[in-house]
Symmetry: C2
Subunit: 422 residues, 2 copies
């Protein structure tokens, strides 16, 4: 008998029929003797519907006071779906109770629309579990010290589930979603892509392009920090699948290297076609240039991904970075008008038609020659590499976006990811 | 400069366009120098939508635990509309903040789906008003001592508004709805029906059939208890109507007889065609029969309206009452199977094709001959009276439902309600 947290996404909660199926699945686990806590998202489309109403009323958005009201508004979606799930569980013959974030309480800071969880009081939930109830905790929301409702930002229900699992010291946190696990790469690009039975926490973080479609990255960080055993699995398997089979399905995210891990050096190929590269050329190589460039861009609320600065020649250097493609024009404009003059740099050039492809694997730490195998593979396919960046367990390259599928397929094959692990 | 509470019903909050108009109206009052508190209902249709989802999941409803979740669910409608109104007010350039019932806090007992307000903490709202904010308080909901969300039942937002007005000692509580006041009778039946500029609290209570379409009766009782000045008016007048004109529009509900009241003896004609009459005939006239009959019916959760028992003849009496037409068959069946035998009564007879027509007027207290004028009027129209019941300020008759319009029109004329008051 274990304490298990289930998290169900918006698609899984998308209709009363689906909610009834979620209730049957949770009931199966409860009847197998487990103490059950469930964290549901809002019914799919509900959060967007609510935010669209707000947008109609306030096309130009004011500051903090507006964000406070957005959270009041958006948090109702999860409260409603939580109550509906409690009702569905009661209809299944179980005792069930739902709690809004403030009722638990899930305490957060006051950063409306992107709040961070600070603490979770486990007393109420524990008491209910001990008296045999299934407890539903609304995802995505919390309450600040002044009693204002906050939300955790998009995908925040994953983080809620992991945080609740951490607070309750749950044996496992199962994230039910519309895919059946984490794959070696996107199966839509490489049909031979395989589901990973386990993936390490670090790999999951690095595989943002794969990972972000499956799990909110913040929830993985949270799970790593509190060592929460976390599994991603599908809510579209039959609800009455044998519980022992279900308990080992999907992909387990692991935090300890001595766990039973697959032995591949490279675990997956990640990619991202939403990026654009920008270079500031001919920058006088003096202390503080990185800050002046990156700081100006960050101050404009533009997120920067890769940053590359090569050694300088004749006192000048070239500074390159990638941003989201939507921010490309804004960033180039900003650099031209506000930065390049102050820096005494020559010019700003950029390209929005690029993509980033990465090989990720915790095994890379102890293996040499992985990066060169990647470069050789791309060269054989005639693909020119525009930028390179590496970390301990990842090597990323920026290439022309038209080569993306070709590169991903070739790398997937070269690193043997289409073979079942020994 | 006054402290004013506005309450807007679901139709007034029915779309973002309408919410924007509510914001403009509230802003007009705020800019005129008034401290403003607004209590909105859920957007029209929203509560029904949510409860329909619950019903799909739990066709046969369990007990208390189910009602708790219904309140978690239904309360989200008002929370969302409150946040949207705050956003609309911010877009109008005002500072505005919304509070859920638990945030205020509006404390209630734990009678889920029909909770009663026990206390309201005015500190937070007062502090916001003092710092120049418009405060939006969600209607319809509260929180019990254990931190569970409760709702006040259908139409509860009127009660919320009056309770908030009472707690804040507001100068006036304006209930904006889709009609422009209380009429002498239903204008659809009598085209000459006039809007009353004032109506007494007691008359409003007695005119349930007119009143319940306009105001939730509980809110009127509440207003009477706490002497809240309450006005019913239309939210469909242009929002930029002159504020002095708007402030005297609609119908004011008065609680003191020395206020400037219209002098008519009869203020209005109320009617209700949803009733059915039931008579238990030949009941041995012994102590306790009323309780045995009424108690059995009430235990089956059937609400009883009029009750009439005439003097007995030869130790037997006839006992009559009216119920909602939907409960007619159930009540007759219940009396036949469970009551009539125990009582030793002769038989149960009933008629579902009746209606109740009442004349209501606080002036009746001090005028004689009002009831006889009513009976004579009906006799002249050839309408047979089946039952009569009177209170201090109301005389009700039960007649064949086919005469309803005829009776209401004749009475409206006979009591001079189509004439403008002196």
């Amino acid at each position: 008998m274990a304490l298990i947290v289930h998290k169900y996404g918006g698609t899984s909660m998308g209709s009363t029929e689906r909610i009834a199926l979620v209730a049957k699945r949770v009931a199966k686990w409860a009847r197998a003797g487990h103490k059950m806590v469930v964290v549901p998202s809002a019914m799919s489309g509900e959060t967007n519907r609510l935010l669209a109403l707000a947008k109609e009323l306030a096309p130009a958005k004011p500051a903090e006071a507006y964000n406070r009201e957005l959270d009041m508004l958006a948090s109702t979606g999860e409260q409603a779906s939580s109550a509906l799930l409690a009702i569905a569980l009661q209809a299944e013959g179980l005792e069930a109770v739902s709690y809004a974030g403030w009722q638990v309480a899930i305490k957060t800071n006051s950063a409306y629309t992107k709040a961070r969880i600070e603490s979770i009081d486990d007393k109420k939930v524990r008491a209910d579990l001990d008296s045999g109830r299934v407890v539903i905790v609304t995802g995505f929301q919390g309450v600040d010290d002044l009693g204002n409702i906050t939300t955790l930002g998009r995908g925040g229900s994953d983080t809620s589930a992991v945080a609740v699992a951490a607070a309750l010291k749950a044996d496992e946190c199962l994230i039910y979603t519309d895919v059946d696990g984490v794959y070696t790469t996107d199966p839509r690009v490489v049909p031979e892509a395989r589901r990973l039975h386990t993936v390490s926490f670090e790999e999951m973080l690095e595989m943002a392009s794969m990972g972000s479609k499956v799990l909110q990255i913040r929830s993985v960080e949270f799970a790593g920090k509190y060592k929460v055993k976390m599994r991603v699995l599908s809510s579209f398997t039959p609800w009455d699948i044998d519980i022992n089979e279900e308990a080992v399905s999907g992909t387990l995210i692991t935090f300890e290297e001595d766990e039973d891990m697959e032995q591949a050096v490279v675990s997956g190929i990640a990619f991202n076609r939403d990026e654009a590269k920008i270079s500031v050329l001919g920058v006088p190589d003096t202390p503080g240039i990185a800050y002046k460039i990156v700081g100006a861009v960050a101050d404009a609320n533009i997120e920067i991904d890769m940053i590359i600065q090569n050694v300088s020649k004749e006192g000048k250097t070239d500074f390159s970075f990638t941003v989201h493609r939507n921010d490309f024009a804004k960033a180039v404009d900003l650099l031209n008008t506000q930065v390049i003059g102050t820096l005494g740099a020559k010019e700003v050039v950029g390209d929005a038609k690029i993509c980033k492809v990465s090989i990720v694997g915790i095994g890379m730490r102890s293996h040499v020659g992985i990066a060169s195998k990647m470069f050789s593979c791309l060269a054989q396919e005639g693909i020119n590499i525009q930028m390179i960046s590496t970390s301990e367990i990842k090597t990323s390259v920026v290439i022309d976006e038209k080569y993306m599928e070709l590169a991903v397929r070739a790398l997937h094959k070269v690193f043997g990811l289409d073979q079942v692990a020994a």
